[in-house]
């Protein structure tokens, strides 16, 4: 349906012109958050401990950065290591999914009786849409799509995520055929006029939110080519893989290219309590291949200087291998990888002990990482605070600061 419509004159593929990417490269910072839900094992990925008690069966392999090794399951990513920074001394608070997911996404600010926004909503609020005017927060996820307001917390629904279920476009994306584009402009002009009149003498919060979502909707309607999977080359499909995460990361590349400020890609079912090593082989390879391709592509398009890429979960996995040959939840010592805007290239920061059980030097919590990422995105220090109807709220944990070793 979309392919036909797009081919019918709505500018198929125009956003892929290099000049657009160049334009973006000069402009705004963007973020790609890859969320591996359930918890990827750090020992089978970023922080291997080969042939130690908890090391598991896999080998460590050299990377494109001399001296840095990763697990053999990251064989493609290893070749892109010179673009990446890995923090191996992550030490967080929660060993349950419910608490961990919320806290990692919200950056663990101190409890002030409000629900903090997830990182995507926070960035949507702090930096707004890019000059492209595209919705600032798009979430590519398996299964159903829709609009996920709950990510926004106290910021309010308009900062929520527009979720593309399995990469599919949202419902009602195409201009109804009974309305001409000119008419569409006219009717929306009227709507805006009515809203302006309504807003007089009232708090503007909800009217603003309403206008904002209409603007985003209209912007999105003009970019339906975003969802045309048929316009990807066979080579791209091959490089990223045709599995779910491969397809979604390829779509994420395009979404970034169209100028979306914050793109989140979720992959689920990483919670390998049983048979962790076969699970890791199956799962991590599905991450490794498209992730490496994406980093390579962002670099080649000179976008990596502006796009901050983050790979994380709610926690790592226990060093201990349980009787089901699985690994359980482990927030004590695990790894988060990142690349791009403002982040140093080809470094490992932090260290776990020889057994991989605990952080050996300074442990870092998600609060430090939020400070690091906001700084990498260039959020000015005077913007590091929200105004919640008069209540000032710091955007990240007061007691933490950025991790300088990760920053350029």
């Amino acid at each position: 349906m979309l392919g036909a419509a797009a081919a019918g004159g709505l500018g198929l593929g125009t956003f892929l012109q290099p000049c657009v990417a160049d334009e973006l490269a000069k402009n705004d910072k963007q973020v790609l958050l890859i969320w591996l839900d359930g918890g990827m094992s750090q020992l089978e990925s970023w922080d291997p401990k080969p042939n130690t008690e908890f090391g598991g069966p896999f080998r460590a392999i050299p990377t494109s950065v001399p001296g840095i090794h990763v697990c053999e399951l990251l064989k493609h990513t290893a070749k892109q290591m010179h673009h990446l920074a890995v923090l191996r001394s992550v030490c967080t608070q929660d060993n349950s999914h419910s608490a961990g997911v919320a806290r990692m996404n919200r950056g663990d600010p101190k409890n002030r009786g409000v629900e903090y926004p997830y990182l995507g909503s926070a960035v949507a609020k702090l930096l707004g849409p890019t000059s492209s005017g595209m919705p600032p927060y798009i979430w590519i996820k398996p299964n159903s799509g829709g609009f996920k307001a709950s990510d926004a917390g106290f910021l309010g629904a308009k900062y929520g995520a527009l979720a593309l279920g399995d990469g599919k476009p949202p419902d009602n994306l195409l201009l109804n055929k009974s309305i001409s584009p000119e008419e569409d402009e006219l009717r929306n002009e009227l709507r805006r006029k009515f809203n302006d009149r309504y807003a007089v003498g009232r708090r503007t919060q909800w009217t603003d939110a309403n206008s904002y979502v209409y603007e985003l909707a209209q912007k999105l309607m003009k970019r339906d080519d975003l969802f045309d999977e048929s316009s990807f080359t066979d080579k791209d499909r091959q490089r990223y893989g045709t599995h779910e995460l491969g397809r979604h990361l390829l779509l994420a590349r395009r979404t970034l290219e169209t100028g979306v400020r914050f793109v989140k890609v979720n992959s689920y079912h990483w919670d390998s309590h049983g048979d962790n090593f076969n699970a890791s082989e199956s799962l991590i390879s599905q991450f490794d291949q498209p992730f490496a391709a994406l980093i390579e592509d962002l670099h080649q398009r000179t976008m990596l200087d502006n796009v901050l890429v983050i790979v994380m979960s709610e926690f790592g996995r226990t060093p201990k291998i349980n009787s089901h040959v699985g690994r359980d939840h482990w927030p004590e010592a695990w790894s988060i990888a990142m690349a791009g805007a403002g982040i140093r290239k080809g470094v490992v920061v932090g260290k776990t002990n020889d057994q991989g059980t605990f952080v050996e030097d300074k442990p870092y919590d998600i609060g430090h990482l939020f400070h690091t990422w906001f700084k990498a995105m260039g959020v000015p220090p005077d913007k590091m605070e929200y105004d919640n109807q008069g209540q000032p709220l710091p955007v990240a944990h007061d007691d933490c600061g950025p991790i300088d070793e990760l920053l350029v």
Binding site: S96, N111, G113, P135, G146, F147, K148, A149, S150, G156, A157, K158, G160, L162, P170, D171, N172, L173, L174, L175, N176, S178, I179, E183, D184, L186, R187, N188, L190, R191, K193, F194, N195, R197, Y198, A199, V200, G201, R202, R203, T204, W206, T207, A209, N210, Y212, V213, Y214, L216, A217, Q218, L220, M221, Q389, G390
Partner: protein, 535 residues
């Protein structure tokens, strides 16, 4: 039957048992207590008749009035017309319909619906069943009683099998705490609540121990649950402290209830029955405070305690005396919801305008000098704008566009009109929250905007069909009449001069395609804030 301990949380709220000695009418007492919080700021003036009318219809009938109803009310010069309108709406069949839709969303949070549950709620509100009785029936559904068994849906839907997932007994436990006591015990499942001292793990586990014995046993037609007798206490440990604890059944914040001895021949003792008799009682302060706060929220757009399910000593009400008074009066009036809504509707707090007058040279007033952006919702200085539920928005859209009667006519076989069913589905998909998320604030979304912009059925409503708004407007002989009918139909008010002129200019400009021009104007009104928000 079981003596309660007045523990910390209860003690905080004991003040409510003091009798209300003030003999003035309740609305006046509420207004006075709200005004204490104004702190010298001038409140917004009372809403004009049109603003009041639209609001009260939406709140008590779930829909805006017709243009004729609006015209009658606006032209009525009787000073008592507002209270008459309140009475009229409370007595109309639309009241039960509205309450059924409202309480369905409050209690089920978009988990799905069931014909028997609908019927149960509708009948309860039609008969103005007291809230404590309704809660007893929900907490202990009677499968034998045809009029009451739909109440089992509250339990049955929450604990139905969901693929490989474990039966969500913890979720049910949490919801009973949230919805009937205003206490979200979720974080007290695995340990005493970290931030809320009042919420203890035993409070969660005690209620949970009852629900662990509950299983869904619905047939396609009838929701139902079965209860196994409890044999022993529930063991639990805190994730922070490996000491083994145990608890028997417990109403949260109350005493542990002994596990009933199950006689060999006698019918088993039902813990649901014990729960139903012990939880919704006058002695249980949280029970009445929760519902008083929730009804206040329905009318005023902001809970006295907010969020609605966080009643605890570190989150006190914005107006403690108002909540005390409301809760005790609600108990004194036998949990009569209709009575309560009437009292709230009659208050000035409810009838205030949602906007401040604009300062102008000849109309300088104290109110005009207020910086409206600084006004916080819990001040009630002006009426809070409220979210329209998907159902309210649908009914109102249909009424505004003159399509409601056509679609409400049942088809021959008694089933609802297929177009209406489809529209309901689409409106809920576009404007309701995700399942399990309370709908407690206005929630504009890109999804909703795309729906309003492009959905076929929405656009059909603003195309000419025999007898609908567009049809009527096209038959109007003058632009003056057209403007009146249009604004009364959609905005429940007459247009001002500026609007009349704008419309006239629009119609002149698009004279060659008048039908389309009118349709677009109507669409723009329907998608504007004045229509999509209950203000």
């Amino acid at each position: 039957m079981f003596q309660k301990v007045v523990c910390g949380l209860m003690a905080t709220f004991m003040i409510m048992s003091v009798l209300n000695a003030d003999e003035r009418l309740l609305p006046a007492q509420l207004d006075e207590r709200v005004a204490v919080g104004f702190a010298g700021q001038p409140p917004a003036p009372l809403a004009d008749d049109a603003e009041f009318l639209r609001r009260i219809w939406l709140d008590l009938a779930g829909c805006i009035p017709t243009s004729n109803d609006a015209r009658h009310f606006l032209d009525d010069t009787d000073p008592g017309k507002r209270s008459r309108m309140i009475e009229q709406l409370l007595a109309a069949p639309t009241y039960a319909q509205r309450m059924q839709e409202l309480f369905h969303v409050v209690l089920m949070e978009r988990r799905g619906d069931h014909e028997k549950w609908k019927q149960y709620l509708y009948n309860a509100f039609e008969r103005n069943k007291p809230w404590d009785q309704m809660v007893r029936e929900v907490l202990n559904p009677d499968p034998q009683d045809e009029n009451r068994r739909g109440a089992a849906f509250f339990y049955a839907k929450r604990i139905e099998a969901n693929g490989q997932n474990p039966i969500d007994h913890p979720g049910l436990t949490r919801d009973v705490g949230r919805l009937f006591l205003g206490a979200d015990l979720q974080c007290a499942q695995c340990h005493d609540h970290l931030f809320i001292d009042d919420y203890k793990q035993r409070d969660f586990q005690g209620l949970y121990s009852v629900y662990l014995n509950l299983a869904a046993k619905s047939s396609p037609d009838i929701p139902a649950v079965t209860e196994k007798p409890m044999k022993k206490k529930l063991e639990f440990i805190s994730v922070f402290d490996p000491t083994q604890n145990e608890t028997g059944p417990r109403i949260p914040f109350g005493l542990e209830i002994p596990i009933p001895e199950q006689g060999k021949d006698a019918a088993p003792v039902s813990l649901l029955a014990v729960l139903a008799s012990e939880l919704p009682t006058a002695q249980n302060a949280l029970f009445s405070r929760n519902i008083a706060n929730r009804l206040w929220f329905v009318m005023m757009g902001r809970g006295l305690v907010h969020p609605l399910d966080l009643h605890h000593s570190d989150n006190p009400p914005s107006h403690p005396e108002v909540l005390d008074l409301l809760a005790s009066e609600f108990v004194a009036h036998q949990y009569d919801i209709k009575w309560m809504l009437r009292q709230l509707a009659l208050s000035q707090t409810y009838q205030r305008s949602s906007r401040y007058p604009v300062a102008s040279a000849n109309a300088a007033s104290a109110a005009a000098s207020v910086n409206v952006e600084q006004v916080r919702p819990q001040s009630y200085l002006l009426a809070n704008e409220k979210r329209m539920m998907a159902e309210q928005l649908l009914h109102s859209t249909l009424r505004a566009t003159g399509n409601l009667e056509r679609l409400q006519q049942a088809t021959v076989d008694g089933k609802p009109n297929a177009e209406l069913t489809e529209l309901t589905k689409r409106f809920v998909a576009a404007f309701a929250n995700e399942p399990r998320e309370p709908e407690d604030q206005i929630n504009p979304s890109v999804k909703g905007a795309l729906f309003s912009l492009n959905d076929d059925l929405v656009l059909q409503l603003v195309s000419r069909q025999s007898g609908n708004l567009i049809d009527r407007l096209l038959a109007m002989t003058s632009d003056e009449l057209l403007a009146d009918e249009l604004y009364l139909s959609v905005f429940t008010r007459r247009p001002n001069n500026e609007e009349r002129n704008e419309l006239a200019a629009w119609l002149t400009k698009h004279n060659d395609r008048r039908e389309k021009a009118i349709a677009n104007w109507v669409w723009s009104m329907l998608t504007s804030m004045e229509f999509v928000v209950n203000h």
